[in-house]
Symmetry: C2
Amino acid sequence: MNNTFIQACRGQKTDYTPVWLMRQAGRYLPEYRKIRGKVDFLTLCKTPELAAEVTMQPVDILKVDAAILFSDILIPVEAMGMKLEFSEAKGPIIYSPVRDSVAVDRLRRLDPKADVPFVVDAIKLLLKQLDVPLIGFSGAPFTLATYMIEGGSSKNFVNSKSMMYQNPGLFHKLMEKLTLTVTDYLRAQIDAGVHAVQIFDSWAGVLSPYDFRTYALPYVKQIIAGLATKIPVIYFPLNTSAMLPLAKESGADVIGLDWRIEIAQAVETLGHGVAVQGNLDPTILFGSKEIIRERVTNILQGAVNAQGHIFNLGHGILPETPVDNAVAMVAAVHEMSLKNR
Amino acid sequence: MNNTFIQACRGQKTDYTPVWLMRQAGRYLPEYRKIRGKVDFLTLCKTPELAAEVTMQPVDILKVDAAILFSDILIPVEAMGMKLEFSEAKGPIIYSPVRDSVAVDRLRRLDPKADVPFVVDAIKLLLKQLDVPLIGFSGAPFTLATYMIEGGSSKNFVNSKSMMYQNPGLFHKLMEKLTLTVTDYLRAQIDAGVHAVQIFDSWAGVLSPYDFRTYALPYVKQIIAGLATKIPVIYFPLNTSAMLPLAKESGADVIGLDWRIEIAQAVETLGHGVAVQGNLDPTILFGSKEIIRERVTNILQGAVNAQGHIFNLGHGILPETPVDNAVAMVAAVHEMSLKNR
């Protein structure tokens, strides 16, 4: 087993900088599109053999140092009793959004065995095949709450914030329910054998620091404390450059960074006791191989004082990305970081 | 003339904290919707009497300390020879996006007299009526470039960044043309008599610090230096919490802040020599009057060490905002800041 990724998560010295890409199993890969052409997105998530197959693809093609379970952050939302659909044009659609106490009360707590057996089964299949660590994941409660309340993606999150500001008690009640579900969901993945977990807080960046501290962070803390796991926990609150000290309070072992901050500045702000993951702008992969190498080098140099650095993009790889540029990026990370030791 | 806004821009002591709202002339006002019901958006921008009328509305209704000319950041883009349309559903649409050197070469330099006489005329009408300062504005070159290249709004800015990374020379050429146009456009507004100007860099936050420094900031600097004006210049690069020291290098008198950063932290990072504008989350206006007062107070206290603070939202006021909450916010800023002197 290539253990470089786990060592970096723990802040240990590694021979080179490990790298994986958010959404590395995805539409930019022809091999993925071939399978996706046969089944819809949710069926792919819920068929262990297929989910395992697309999880493996980027490990073989890109030579990344970790695999991440192919799934969707909204799987636990569906398990709580909401009807979920993925539209090619609009993205996720959640029917009957949660806007009042009746809707919050109606939400079930996820039962891993009954609701997400396919996740556990996919993990077990993967553990037999992989020679790199497997990352499990979940959406963070705040991010999941916004999908539930808005009924899908949103521009200004007016419904979510209206609930926060008009009925904070109800919002907190929803967050408490989500926190139990996310904890159980991640624990099921950990029990099945994943080597690390990542908590995606994709919409944390629509909050002010005040609201992040009040409405989002306490629940992430509670999840990480509740898991009390020995495997590394990565927390990725997108677009929170000015809230990194708060993100560190989550108790995560690794903080994910988007590309809106110099990694050296993030490392300095975060200080000791936490590793960093990131943070190449995904659109750099549309540039020349020279630009990719140059920017990879900048990030590796900027992270030189990090207590553990996992190279990644600052956001998911884009569907139109040329595969050979992604391959070149991974190779550049390995080559340039080895050179610098 | 109420000069509080200008004094705060200059970092001078004021009796109370001045306040205005981005997009204060807009759809949340029934008085605006009434006029907008009769003419389309671009006609409204281009009819001086109507543009002046909607510019005045929030001054009377909200009691703000500054007016901002009703117009759109894309007006100079149209003047450079591109066909522009506003769709209710999709927002701005720009036909034949700029993707190659032929398209860049074809762009004309804006001629204020021929292309935007309506802007100058609206300003002249307004100066006769207003008893608060009038703010002129333009989009920043990078933000305008993204609209030109993408053909409208965008999610990932793949076309803009592809040009930056594949053909940086062409991207810089486009930016140079935009810089001349924006400079001329702002100078025309200054010559017509506006009391301050704001440069909106609404998409600066999609750039890494490296790219912001390389592709966007130099042109803003050039514009501000080129104007060499005595009136205050406000620069508002949205979503750049980790790039404030760079934003300060623009040479602007005031830096606009979104709500993703504590204002006290922004003030500390920016240091002396620059005023700040912001930074209430626009969705707070969907909360109770008590929450509005509480958050207004937090921001006023956070900005207590600022060398000039203009209160504003961290982004444009939203169309669904209850008008009386906007009125209450402006009143709270005046009342609470007067109390604290």
